[in-house]
Every structure is written in C-alpha cells, then in structure tokens.
Symmetry: C2
Subunit: 421 residues, 2 copies
C-alpha cells in the first residue's frame, strides 16, 4: 500500500466536531468557531422540501427551469439583470466555487485573512493561491494597491494570477466593502485583466438595511461571477443549496458550460427536493423577506454585542456590519498575554479554550499572520439551545434582553474581562 498522506479536515468543520464531542462529554463550551446560523429551518421551507419528494429523477445538470428562473429574479431584484440561462445551482456554493477553480485558467488571488476553503480549493485545482492583505477599512477584498503589487511581482516571477476572489459581506471580518472600495477593486481587476469571483453568500445579512451594497457584478458585469446560497441567510447549512450567476456574454456562458460540465462529472445536479426549496426561497415571497430581515437584525444585534465585549477587553476590531462574525486583534494586549504564555494566534485560541471553555478560530487558520493575536468569532450560535429559544431570539425586538442570550453574552463578557486583567 502507498504511504499514507496526512490530510486535515477544514479547520472550522473539525473544530465543530471537537465541540460536539466535548459537549457530549459534559463540557460547557461556548462555540464561536463555526459559521453556522443556529436557527430552526423556517416552516414554509420544510413544507417545500416534503412537497419536492417526488423529484427523484436526475433532471438538468444546471438545475430545472423553475429554480433557475427564481434565482434569476433574485439577482435581477438586486440590480443585476439576469436570465435563467445565466444560472447554475448546486449542492452548496462550495462545489460551485470548486468547479470555478477547475474551469477558470490561471492562479488565484485571495484576501488575507479569508474564508478557510478558498486556498485548499485552489490547491485541489492545481492552482497557486496568492494571498493579499485586506485594507484597514474592511475585509473581503484585497487592498487595491497591494493587489497591484502582488500581481506585478507574481507575473514578473513567472506566476499567472488571473482570478481574484472577493467576499461581500466578509467572512471572517464581518464587514462589508463600501461602494467606493468595490469600484476601486473592480478598476484594478480591469486594469490587471483579472476575473472576479464575488462570493455573496452573506448578501442578505447586512445589519443595517440602509447600508449600501454594491456588487462587483454591477460595476464590472462582464468579468464578475457571483456565488450565493441559502446556507447562511436562511440557516440551511445542512441542506446544501448554492447558486452561481454568470455574466451574460460569450465568455460568461462558456464558463457556465465549464461549470455545468464539471458538475455533470462530479455531482450531477442539486437534489430535486432542494431545487423545490430553492425555487420557493429565491422567489422571495413576503414571509421569506420578513424572515431574512428578522435574521439580519438578530445577527447584527448579537455581532455588535460581541464586538463591544472585544473592544472593552482592549482589542482593536473593525465594527461588524454584515454576516455574523467579528475579527478582533489583541495586539494591544500582547505584553499582557505574553505573561500568560500566549504569543500567537494558535496560543490565543488554545488559551481561550483551555482556560475559559471558549472556542474561536485562530487567524492562522484563515491565512493570517500566525504571530498576530487575531481570531474569528462566529456570533451566530448564541441564539439559544432549543428551536423554541432560537425562534424567540428571532422574534424579539431586543434579543440581548432574553435570558438565554444574556447568559451567554455575560459569560463571554466575563471571559474577556478576565483575559484582559
């Protein structure tokens, strides 16, 4: 037999399993290391799933016409006019992002820090991933000047970066690139002839409805491919529903054909009952719109509360405006933490778990400088342990006042106060 290679599971999913095991063993762990919207499946969605049970035939690879039409409407209502032929659905946005890596030629530019699957996917597709620092203002996009430098240096050294991945709103920083920066990064992409992949899986989780959202697909429609899905916005991570939107030009449709080809060899199609769910959700009837706003409001309230806990403890942190993450930097406490033996992000992650039972995802897992004292905290699993508590969190005008939310936030407050003392 060949030598065994060491493979590691995506760290967020691995830590999720670790927590489940520790909790099963009786440990009381606060789990901030997994980007799951811990809310119940919305009733009308479960009805659609059951209704879709008779869809046991394979059907078209890209998805049936009804779900593609609904997704096209979803994008069109967001200032990206779209026809059903520009859409491919899949079992999550992950496999769609993977297929794009297989199909698009050249190497990939990824913000640093970024979601932990972009780089491994690039490697699986045989690509080099170039990591580019984010600006101080927000995450999810590379700093435009740094992007130009990295591309020029890479090309001078014989590298071939041709794709840049953006995340709006961002995972891990919980911020949303403002329109001016989106315009700037799109201009850089045009100048450098880069394809833009805009991962908008948190699109409908912008905390303040007044915050302007500008998609790169509005600014540079001819070169931007958008991915999205229902895992985050409708708390359906375990149902695996993703969507990809391609530009309406010959190049865009050839990339769509490529993704459809990869899909046909790798996953066949999105499961029929899930297409039924997606067709309903992407059509956005009133009850879905209400669910989306209630979710965004809840995610925002709790993310801001955790942000304040971090800042009060002495960290610097970009204020969260979208998604359900904060990404604090404990650099101001470096000397203090060094007394405790904590000198890097792996040490900080370990210290928080071992001493306080609080699990975060160290920045080193996200491509960030291992020596920094930064981590990602997902704030989306603090809404209660039962479906009933979670629904109350969603319905509450002030979720922070609910005892089950207040309790876990107090524990976090206490933890980070102690950490800073």
């Amino acid at each position: 037999m060949p030598e065994a290679t060491l493979w590691r599971t995506s760290p967020n999913l691995a830590l999720n399993q670790l927590v489940a095991e520790r909790r099963a063993a009786g440990d009381d762990v606060v789990h901030l290391a997994f980007g799951e919207s811990r809310l119940p499946a919305f009733g009308p969605l479960t009805e659609r799933l059951a209704r879709g049970a008779d869809r046991n035939a394979y059907g078209p690879v890209a998805g049936g016409e009804p779900v593609r039409r609904a997704a096209a409407g979803y994008f069109s209502r967001r200032n990206m006019p779209t026809g059903p032929d520009q859409i491919v659905v899949g079992p999550g946005s992950k496999p769609l992002l993977m297929a794009l890596q297989h199909v698009l030629p050249g190497d990939v530019l990824i913000p640093r820090p970024a979601w932990n699957s972009y780089v491994p996917q690039a490697r699986l597709a045989g690509k080099t991933a170039f990591e580019v620092p984010i600006p101080s203002e927000c995450g999810g996009i590379p700093d435009p000047a740094a992007l130009r430098d990295v591309v020029r240096q890479a090309r001078a050294a014989g590298g071939d970066p041709r794709i840049v991945v953006l995340t709006l709103p961002d995972n891990p920083t919980g911020t949303l690139a403002p329109p001016a920066l989106v315009r700037e990064i799109c201009a850089a992409a045009e100048e450098l002839d880069l394809v833009i992949i805009s991962d908008e899986i948190y699109r409908d989780i912008v905390h303040d409805p007044a915050t302007p959202f500008l998609s790169p697909a509005e600014v540079a429609p001819e070169r931007t491919i958008v991915t999205n899905g229902l895992s985050k916005t409708l708390a359906l991570g375990g149902w695996r529903i993703g969507v990809c939107r391609f530009p309406d030009n010959a190049w865009g449709l050839s990339v769509r054909d490529g993704v459809t080809s990869v899909a046909s060899e790798v996953w066949s199609t999105l499961a029929g009952p899930m297409q039924e769910v997606a067709a309903y959700a992407f059509a956005e009837p009133e009850e879905i719109r209400q669910r989306l706003s209630a979710s965004a409001r809840l995610h925002g309230a709790v993310a801001r509360a955790v942000y304040e806990i971090m800042v009060d403890a002495g960290a610097t942190c970009r204020p969260p405006t979208g998604g359900f993450y904060v990404y604090p930097d404990f650099e101001p406490l470096r000397t203090h933490l060094a007394w405790r033996g904590v000198t890097d992000s792996a040490g900080l992650q370990r210290h928080l778990l071992d001493t306080y039972g609080v699990l975060v995802l160290g920045g080193h897992h996200l491509g960030d400088d291992a020596g920094a004292l930064r981590f990602k905290a997902a704030t989306s699993m603090l809404y209660g342990e039962t479906a009933e508590e979670q629904e109350r969190s969603l319905a509450a005008a002030d979720p922070l006042a609910l005892p089950h939310v207040e309790r876990v936030l107090s524990r976090l407050k206490e933890t980070f106060t102690k950490l800073s003392q």
Copy 2:
C-alpha cells in the same frame, strides 16, 4: 477576458436534456441513453425525507453516526465486516469517487468501455487514465492479462498507474464479473500493487438472486475501497445519496481522512434530510428488502427482453445479469450498415435517433473504439410514463405483458428488425 475553453457536459446527462427538449417539442423518442431507474420514490423514503427536515445544521463532514452505523450494517450483511468509522457518506457516489481521485496518488486504470465519468474525473484530478480492454466474458473489470501488460508498459514509459477502478455489476455492459475473475483481478492488483476502487452502485440489482456476488473487498480487503449509493437501487438519482467504505487499516483510514478533508472543502456534508433517508434505507427493513428485490426482478426482465431484441437483430451481446443495461455489438451487420452510411458508433447512434427516434449512447462516449458498432442501451426507462404505470411494472409478475411495457418493447423490436433488414 481569457479565451473561452470548450467544455462539454457528461454525454449521458447532455443526451438526457436533448430528449427532454425533443419530447417537449412533440417528438416521440425512445430514450435508452440515460442510466436512470425511472420508478417513483418509494413512499417510506419520502416520509423519511420530510421527517429529516429539521436537520438544517451542518453536522459531521463524514455523516452523522446513525447513517454511518446503518451503512456499516449494510456492508457487514454483505460479507464485508464494517464499523461506522470506515464510512463516509456524500451527495452521490460521484463526488466520493472524485475525492478518491484527488486523494489517492498515481494514475488510474479504467476498463474499456466504462462509465463515462471515470476518465473526466481522473483528468480533473490531474491524473492520466489508462484504459484497459474488458474480457470477453463480462465488463466492469479489465482483462487481467491486458492489465498486466498495460501497467508494465506504462511503468516502463515512466507512467505511474497505481489505482484500478472496477464496476460490479457493470455499467455499460450490464454484466457481473464472476467470482473467479474477481479473484484473478485482485491477484493482479496485489502483484502490481494497485489500489482497487470497487464501484458497486448497482450492487443490489443482480437479476437472478442465485448469481454469486463476490466483492473485491472480500478478496483483497486491505487495498479495496468500495463506493455505493441509493441512486440506482432505490431509484433516487435526483436525491443524491452516496456512500464510501474504507479498509479497516491505517492506510484505509488515512484515505478516509483524505476524502473527509476534500469533502470538508468541497461539499461540507451530505444534506441532513438525505442522511435521514439513507440511515433508514441502509438499515434495510423488510419493506426496503422487498422493494430492492422487486426492482432487481423488473430490471432483469426488461434488460433480457431488450437483449433478445438486439440478438434477434443480428448483434452479438453479453447476456445482461445485473444493472439495467445491454451493450450490443453490431459488427456482424457492418456491411449491411455501411450501405446506410453507418460505419462507426457515432454514426450508429445518429442513425438510430434520426431514422427511428431511438436514442442510445454510442460506445465512443464510453472510451470504446470509435470505429466499432457498439452502444449502450439503458433499459430502465421503459417502465411507463406515469408513477402509476411504473408501480404496476414493479408489482407485475410478468411486466412484459403490461400494455405500456409491451408497446415500447414492440417499437424497439420493430426498429431493430428494420435496422437489420
């Protein structure tokens, strides 16, 4: 923008869409080009799907303990003792096979002809696919002597074949490698130090329950990885449920870790509601066992009827014993077909569609010699147009006597009689 690359959809799925379009346009096409078991979803399975709707959280990458335990039982009952830790479930066996190609080092040996996704998957993983002719007795395995030759030649030329893919029962030939040949191919794999991937997606569709089934995992357990799923045996292609079983040794478990790692970056996990379905189905309660036998009986009866039509028309053909395919060779009619301008498998496929409205999958799509006059005919979509007709086919002691089955078989009989005249 970069130049558009030409990508093609997996030919079976592409032809499936073509038929849907021609039928929508009013054409009466007999569709033999797609390996879908065209039967309704079994009632108890649809109940399980609805019951699993509350499983909207991600859960463990490899699948939860209940579904892995059920799948372990499924394999254990088939003379492959298995623990839950040897199991990974996924959205179909396709992505599991793809992940294996990413994880296992070296190039791949594939029977010729074979299912049309093995070779494209190997290419996506950056591997070379070596095709090895099948023996005259059956498909799904390379001829052992030819395998030795190909491996030696490839290695002498600097190639690195280290994996052989087997299909039991076979797609496209509808045959099952007999135990003696399975032992022989396993001996060759040991001698050549090849990993065996045994694709057993048609495992429970053996037409005659008395036919012995010997899995390579019984003969060479330490080096054999088995894939399976519910798409074919329970007619759930559109639900996307697959399973992979790894050897219970350090190497096997390291490959499992690799597949889990790839899964965590590419598809996260099998959808929760589908895990609920799979846990029930793999436990094989009485009603599932009955459904499996009824399906195998129906597939066998119709495959044999189509086989007889082909042989009566003058083709040579291996008698089908498993799955729902026949793979006739019209070489005996070469001179006759040449008069009609048909000289290769693409021409034969086109002639059958254009002249008779019968769609088959030419052998050239399956890696076979393009100049041969062979094609795959899937016989699993001849059971009726409505769920009611299909259920009657499944329940009938003699499905061939049902008017809706008899009608389409008569049309095929007429077509191939005309072809031979």
